[in-house]
């Protein structure tokens, strides 16, 4: 997108630092006792999520990048890539599953998600904090089995293995925490 003076950077600005795409999460101006104006930045790597702290002179040139939030429909997965369609242009594009492994468990065909895109690369797929999923396979609870505790494992329609309470049956819907993959509650439709 172009050069921006470090002093003009604000929270939410997208930058290229050390060839990686970042978003500015914090910005503080610092004027040392006697000297030029500096700015301290806290940056979040849009690919890895890692935090970078960096101090620039306000006059330093930084590279601002064009990052877009693209509303996209998830079409299907072919095991290697997710196939999406841009909801406004109807262009189709692929996103490697390897870069967003967690997303494969929480996207159902046809659903729409906000994708952070830069330079033909998808940096982030915005997933909801919780997702309701159908239980595709459930082990049968063995009557009287209290040795293993009152839980068992199920497989959801998206192939996610979740530890659930013993009473959950195949065909039921469960709510799962997307970040941790943990069971939250049973959903009664």
């Amino acid at each position: 997108m172009g050069m921006i003076k470090a002093g003009a950077i604000a929270k939410g600005t997208y930058l290229l630092e050390k060839n990686e795409p970042f978003v500015v999460s914090e910005r503080e101006f610092v004027n040392p006792g006697k000297g030029s104006a500096f700015v301290r930045l806290k940056l979040k790597n849009l690919r890895s999520g890692a935090v970078l702290k960096i101090t620039h002179k306000s006059q330093d040139n930084c590279e601002e990048i064009d990052v877009d939030e693209v509303e996209s429909q998830f079409l299907y997965s072919d095991g290697v890539s997710f196939h999406f369609m841009d909801s406004s242009t109807f262009d189709q594009f692929e996103v490697p599953i390897k870069a967003h492994e967690n997303a494969q468990f929480y996207m159902l065909d046809g659903e729409t998600f906000k994708l952070t895109r830069w330079n033909e690369e998808t940096l982030d797929i915005r997933l909801p904090p919780k997702k309701d999923l159908l239980v595709a396979e459930a082990e049968e609870a063995v009557k009287g089995d209290t040795v293993t505790g009152a839980t068992k494992y199920v497989i959801t329609e998206t192939n996610l293995k979740v530890k659930v309470p013993i009473f959950i049956k195949q065909g039921e819907k469960i709510r799962v925490n997307v970040e941790s993959g943990e069971y939250q509650e049973r959903i009664n439709d």
Partner: protein
């Protein structure tokens, strides 16, 4: 309106305490103009500028002072005793954020025949007085004894190298900026700092034009400042003399007679043993002036020829008040912030 009414009373109590203390020390309170036609040049500070309009319609520029230093030094040069001022200062161009305002209150005092280090007990008293007036329950971060760390110690601990060795090897010990070798020494230390920054893959600015003090500050702000212990007030002493200031050099060393006080990681005060050498003062004026062809040497001459040896300390009273109150910004102290005054 969002200001905290008790903050008004606390500020008044703080001022009463400070005035009482300086009275017992025999320091004269001075009240000097906020407008000047001839500010001390400082290349990194932008001033508020206005026009003085004459009755005949002509006008000339006047500036709001960034600090009362220029006046207080004139008063000292006229033969006064040690003195102090509590007053408003103005800095344009700065972003208003947690600890910065375009207009703020400074306590500035000058002790005759005192070196910078000799002002640390005075600073400790000022902290005590403010705590008693405003928040006697204030924690050790403010009420504890001031810890002294030199810049060299801080660099060895947090940046992993000896600043003193680097400065000595560059020839910056015992010479000053009127020496013909000075530019070469500055170039040497710049190369050293640049290599340190590049080693850590950090921004180092324009290779040809970045000044030695900008390179130093990059290293300082990245490795040192945020790592300084904040469990007690901290005085960071002995700053490199090559940073252009009005602080005098400590002879035979690469250091200036200078300290900065941090409380909870926030810079609250600074102190210089004041420069009185006429050549060095003129060199500073020349370098800092934007009027490079014809810098106004009235002030350096008056200071050099009249001001006694002394040290000056400046304390950001708004920051001190906020920190003693336990606030984490200046927000609660703003009585009528500019944005509140905008017409609807």
């Amino acid at each position: 309106m969002q200001f905290k009414p008790e903050a008004i009373k606390e500020r008044a109590a703080m001022y009463r305490g400070l005035r009482g203390y300086f009275e017992t020390c025999g320091y004269l309170e001075v009240d000097t103009p906020l407008l000047t036609d001839n500010p001390i040049p400082e290349s990194h500070i932008e001033l508020f500028k206005t026009q003085k309009v004459q009755p005949d319609g002509t006008s000339f520029p006047l500036y709001l002072i960034p600090s009362p230093e220029v006046w207080l030094k004139m008063v000292l040069a006229s033969g006064s005793s040690s003195l102090y001022q509590i007053g408003r200062c103005f800095r344009n161009g700065e972003q208003v954020d947690r600890w910065h305002r375009n207009e703020f209150t400074m306590l500035e005092w000058y002790g005759i025949n005192k070196s910078a280090g000799e002002n640390l007990p005075v600073m400790q008293e000022i902290l005590k007085i403010t705590i008693n007036a405003v928040n006697p329950e204030a924690g050790k971060e403010i009420s504890g004894n001031i810890r002294e760390i030199s810049m060299d110690e801080a660099f060895r601990e947090f940046a992993g190298f000896s600043l003193e060795s680097a400065l000595k090897e560059s020839g910056l010990t015992g010479i000053n900026r009127t020496s013909p070798d000075y530019p070469a020494s500055l170039a040497d230390i710049s190369i050293f700092f640049q290599s340190r920054l590049k080693e850590k893959n950090l921004p180092s600015g324009d290779k040809e034009r970045e000044s030695a003090d900008d390179l130093f500050h990059r290293l300082f702000l990245t490795f040192v400042e945020e790592a300084l212990p904040a469990d007690r007030p901290l005085a960071l002493t002995h700053w490199p003399a090559f940073i252009p200031t009005l602080a005098r050099d400590i002879p035979g060393t690469p250091w200036a007679d200078r300290w900065e006080l941090y409380i909870r990681g926030v810079e609250v005060a600074n102190c210089y043993g004041e420069e009185t050498d006429e050549r060095l003062l003129k060199k500073y004026w020349e370098n800092e002036s934007t009027e490079k062809t014809d810098p106004d040497f009235r002030w350096p001459q008056l200071i050099a020829r009249g001001m006694p040896p002394c040290s000056g300390t400046a304390v950001g009273l708004d920051r001190l008040l906020a920190l003693v109150r336990g606030d984490d910004s200046l927000k609660g102290l703003d009585l009528f912030p500019i944005h509140d005054n905008m017409p609807r």
